[in-house]
């Protein structure tokens, strides 16, 4: 008798989503931490991107790390998970547009993505691809109805009891 080892993706899906959720949350918390450590660098990076008018660039720079931090924590604990993923997805769209425009302009500049561990990346196709992958993960989470080990699921079950 031949026995086939079949990986049941339907069974694994919630675990894969859990892994992706925690991964995306952790990435964004790390990104936020670096930005909060060096707020002045972030302001000059956003101005360097040369997309928004000066005043709006500053407001974006003050707000950005907090969106990343709050949404990242929400993803990890699984509270308002879909909304947090939606917030991150829009953020990633803005990153992709900003990096795309500056690559088109042919400008070499600091990405400002992770200002920790001495990381100092320049914008380029790898960064663009990474953001597209993160966007796809965020989009998948927005479309997910139930999350393993999450405050959302815990609260929903409690309200049904």
């Amino acid at each position: 008798m031949e026995r086939k080892c079949v990986i049941n993706f339907a069974l694994m899906k919630p675990f894969i989503l859990l892994l992706l959720r925690v991964l995306l949350g952790a990435v964004f918390i790390l990104a936020a931490y670096g930005k909060l450590l060096h707020p002045e660098v972030l302001v000059s990076t956003v101005i360097n991107f040369n997309i928004l008018p000066l005043g709006l660039s500053k407001i974006f720079a003050y707000t950005l790390p907090w969106i990343e931090m709050i949404a990242g924590i929400m993803l990890i604990i699984g509270f308002g998970t879909r909304g947090a993923s939606f917030a991150i997805a829009w953020l990633l769209i803005s990153f992709i547009i900003a990096i795309g425009i500056n690559m088109h302009r042919g400008v070499s500049m600091e990405c400002g993505c992770f200002d920790i561990f001495g990381m100092n990346e320049k914008i380029g196709s790898e960064i663009l691809l990474r953001d597209v992958i993160f966007f796809l993960i965020a989009a998948a989470l927005v479309l997910t109805k139930e999350f393993l080990f999450s405050v959302d699921t815990f609260m929903e079950r409690k309200s049904k009891q």
């Binding site: 707020p39 002045e40 660098v41 790390p65 939606f86």
Partner: protein
């Protein structure tokens, strides 16, 4: 109906995250400005290493040189950005086309002249690249105006749009 309700809650959560972040960000900026860093700017390590090997100059000192008319300002950004606005009288040598642009401006760089390069401001390495290229050619009176175009613009100093005459 049910789907609608779900999406309303998703969008509501997103808006709440954005609003809370905006309030936190602006409030913390307002509370910490002028106290935490005393106006000191913290920069990435690689930028610090590059810039510390060069001579730098503030916007204020650059303007003193500007009024004495013994200085050449070089905008290291690309043509489009230069045309959108630059320091009045500055020439444009995009950092990645130094070899192409240098010959036409060579006669401007006489021995006693000071050369100041600038680009998008603090953290921007384009002006550093142009300064290094000039130093490699033997120029010694080369400075990088680290606050760059934003610093000059914020100080309401003379600017010009489009090509220089």
């Amino acid at each position: 109906m049910n789907l609608n309700k779900t999406w309303k809650s998703v969008i509501g959560t997103t808006v709440a995250v954005y609003l809370l972040s905006f309030i936190l960000g602006v409030a913390i900026h307002a509370l910490t400005t002028g106290t935490s860093t005393d106006g000191k700017v913290i920069l990435p390590e690689s930028y610090i290493q590059q810039i510390s090997a060069l001579k730098t100059i503030t916007v204020e000192d650059s303007y003193k040189d500007y009024t004495e008319e013994n200085t050449v300002f070089i905008d290291a950004r690309d043509n489009a950005e230069y045309n959108e606005g630059h320091i009045k009288g500055a020439i444009n040598i995009p950092y990645d086309r130094f070899q192409q642009y240098y010959p036409q401006y060579e006669k401007l760089f006489t021995k006693n002249k000071k050369i100041i390069t600038y680009c998008h401001g603090i953290g921007c390495g384009l002006s550093v690249d142009v300064a290094k290229d000039l130093i490699a050619l033997g120029y010694t009176n080369v400075f990088v105006m680290t606050e760059g175009w934003p610093g000059w613009m914020n100080a309401n100093l003379p600017i010009s749009v489009g090509k220089e005459p």
